[in-house]
Assembly symmetry: C2
Homo-oligomer: 453 residues x 2
């Protein structure tokens, strides 16, 4: 194994070949102790990031932008309660392009993009052109062309872009990364993950900002149901791949010695959302007539240049316990999170019998979690949200490459339009584009090799 310095050196070199990693105009090369940060979108998810930024001394929250007055009020109240200066507010007039004013006027070092998916690509492109570093919530774009546009803009401008994929920082996921790098699983052969999360109550609600079961989506709904559900109505594919594929990609060095070569998706019928509408709105509710395009189960396979296979499952419209369904399997054994178990030949006490994974996870706890677990407590999603924000800010301050970079972002997120294409073509297998234009063969891993970020 390379040591940390060799990895970082190699990574920086490779990054330099592919795209300038120079910081933007404001966060000059290294040595900056405080960053001017803005947030576009302070809705349900944006409030999480806001709370984490307010806890940091190295962040000056200069501006926020949202077109929903309720969320702006909640954000300002949160900021005041934290004793931080009131930021400049954009978008209160309802102008969906108000963020451009913010980018133009606020001399930001970085911006968090936490808006509906369809806005991620245009906002990221505008921000990169304005030399404002982008921390983008998961989903880099909608169409395949969006992904190429975001990539080309990053390459042309050299502005840092990080995908805020929090599950890469989940404690067990990071411990397993340590185990993978220590060779515990041998040579990796097969990975599984996905997004299996009953979102019926997210996709459909009463429209009341204070909550309540309902069957509205679109303009009459509240929060994510205003925009997210439309994707279930119109699109059939793995709409949310990054929480699953991010950790898998890190385990097998995708874009850094490996790449996805082919993709295939199968989709089941769609029943879950209609059943929910019938149950809670009745058959006379206008939404009971909606035909949702999204299959309730979308199952995707990926082949990799180094011979691994990956299985992703998208399951968001049916009643079920939450599970990202990780499985990491190599020549020496495997870990699965659904049964919280592991088997490692020669190490596990009984041949061919599962043992609890927790002692292994404890033993291989990642240095980042050892150092920051106390600070992470209370951050969203079991603490992992702390780390993704931390990584973005710290890497920017250090003038270092983004730990989850533009290639990771577009590669992971492009699974959605590619899976749509596969399903549309009758579950046919499609080629996976090489966003690195061959540089994956030279690029070296840089993600989470120490306890800094």
């Amino acid at each position: 194994m390379m040591n940390r310095r060799e990895f970082l050196g190699a990574g920086a070199l490779a990054g330099g070949l592919l795209a300038a990693t120079a910081l933007n105009a404001h966060a000059a090369s290294g040595g900056r102790n405080k960053l001017r940060v803005g947030i576009i979108g302070v809705g349900a998810r944006g409030q999480n990031h806001l709370a984490l930024l307010l806890r940091r001394d190295d962040v000056e929250l200069t501006a926020i932008c949202d077109i929903e007055p309720i969320w702006i009020q909640r954000a300002l109240a949160r900021i005041a309660k934290a004793g931080k200066p009131k930021p400049k507010v954009y978008g209160a007039d309802g102008d969906v392009h108000a963020y451009r004013q913010m980018l133009a006027k606020q001399k930001l070092d970085a911006v968090f993009i936490v808006t509906p998916w369809e806005w991620h690509a245009p906002m990221a492109i505008d921000a990169m052109r304005a030399k404002v570093a982008v921390g983008c919530e998961v989903v880099a774009g909608i169409t395949l062309e969006d992904h190429w546009d975001v990539l080309r803009t990053q390459q042309a401008t050299g502005t840092p872009y990080m995908l805020l994929e929090n599950v890469c920082y989940r404690r067990d996921v990071m411990a397993v990364l340590q185990m993978v790098r220590a060779g515990l699983f041998g040579e990796l052969e097969h990975l599984q993950a996905g997004y299996q999360h009953d979102l019926r109550g997210v996709k459909l609600n009463s429209g009341n900002p204070d909550g309540g079961i309902g069957v509205e989506f679109g303009p009459k709904a509240w929060s994510e149901a205003r925009w997210r559900t439309e994707h279930s109505a119109k699109r059939n594919g793995d709409l949310y791949p990054s929480h699953g594929i991010g950790p898998c990609a890190m385990y097998i060095d995708i874009n850094r010695g490996n790449r996805f070569t082919r993709l295939n998706s199968f989709a089941s019928k769609a029943r879950g959302l209609n059943d929910y509408i019938l149950a809670h709105g009745g058959k006379d509710n206008p939404n009971a007539q909606v035909k949702f395009a999204l299959g309730d189960l979308v199952t995707t396979q990926l082949a990799c240049a180094n011979g691994e296979t990956i299985l992703l499952q998208h399951d968001t419209s049916l009643p079920r316990p939450y599970s990202l369904g990780f499985r990491v399997q190599g020549t020496h054994g495997l870990w699965m999170d659904v049964n919280q178990s592991i088997y490692i030949e020669g190490t596990s006490k009984t041949d061919d019998a599962w043992e609890p994974a927790q002692p292994y996870l404890d033993k291989h706890d990642h240095p980042l979690w050892k150092r920051f677990a106390d600070q992470a407590v209370g951050a969203g999603h079991g603490g992992m949200d702390f780390f993704v924000v931390h990584a973005f800010i710290e890497a920017l301050k250090a003038g270092a490459p983004m730990p989850i970079d533009i290639y990771d972002a577009v590669t992971w997120s492009a699974i959605t339009p590619l899976s749509e294409q596969s399903i549309r073509q009758g579950f046919q297998t499609v080629d996976f584009p090489d966003f690195t234009a061959g540089q994956w063969q030279q690029r070296k891993p840089i993600f989470a090799f120490d306890d800094r970020y």
Copy 2:
């Protein structure tokens, strides 16, 4: 739901339209109390069936056939110990076609085919032509054409043919069948299963009939390693689909109201068998140079006419705990066997939280298990082997349709050549042939609706 009599009536009618279900010359229509039975292949698996047949008063074990003297001796010893008459022995001279003499001379009602996979199709065809009912171990043939040949012979001769797929009779699998039929899962949408079983010690051994770790396969090896490993060396596909697909097919009425429409397989690299040979035979062992074609993980998807998706995993060359990996998911919830858990919306105590499956499995215990659990104790594979032999014999005696019939057999087994084709074509999706020629739309389910068999 139809009641039992309606189901059986409808099934018999549909069966009659498709293929004569008349019994062979010896087991005349119904009312036979004792069947003349032969076994072709009394190796490791054949000895299991032999033991079960010896426990039955309705079976006269008339003949056995094998070309391996050790297995013949073990079979005769077992028969003598059971106090049963010595059967006629065929094949002791090493003639691989000795079974034809047995079929011609022994006036058998039924024959068990328990031989290497490549012999199943030709032996079944010969038996059906001789009007001897076939109980065939899993794998109906090798090539797709084999499957058509077996089917066409059954249709032309009307001789009963049953695939001896034991996992359809596993206690939890049958309880889940009851739950499916009771509507507990709502409308089924997605199923998972497979064959995940570390077979390295089966595919490679010392060649000593008394056991011992080794790295031989082919003529120098013992038992299954003599022939089964060659399939791993030459073929890349899901080589053993029926244990997984059998129960799934029964849950969603494949060939009886539903059918498979498309198939896709991805295969990982192949490392497991070579690693095992290196570890136990060293790099200078001639077998260390063998290039095995079979990917260690072969993952297959199937689409169904009624909109369900099925995921099958074949994983037989790596260290791992045994698991068939069942998942049965519908609009109301899901069961998974890897974590022995279930979730049913509205029934499970806590929203979106797993609960132990066992109380559900106990509550929905199948009538067959309630009636025969005591007799099944001691039978192979947790008792399920009792039921598959029982079903074959009882259905023959009753002159009734085979509960796992020729259409089930060829449909499940054809997954292997189709998955090979998919992988060979670069993981492309292939159409699934309709072996029923459209009759799947009229045929009705008949499997395990009561406590008889």
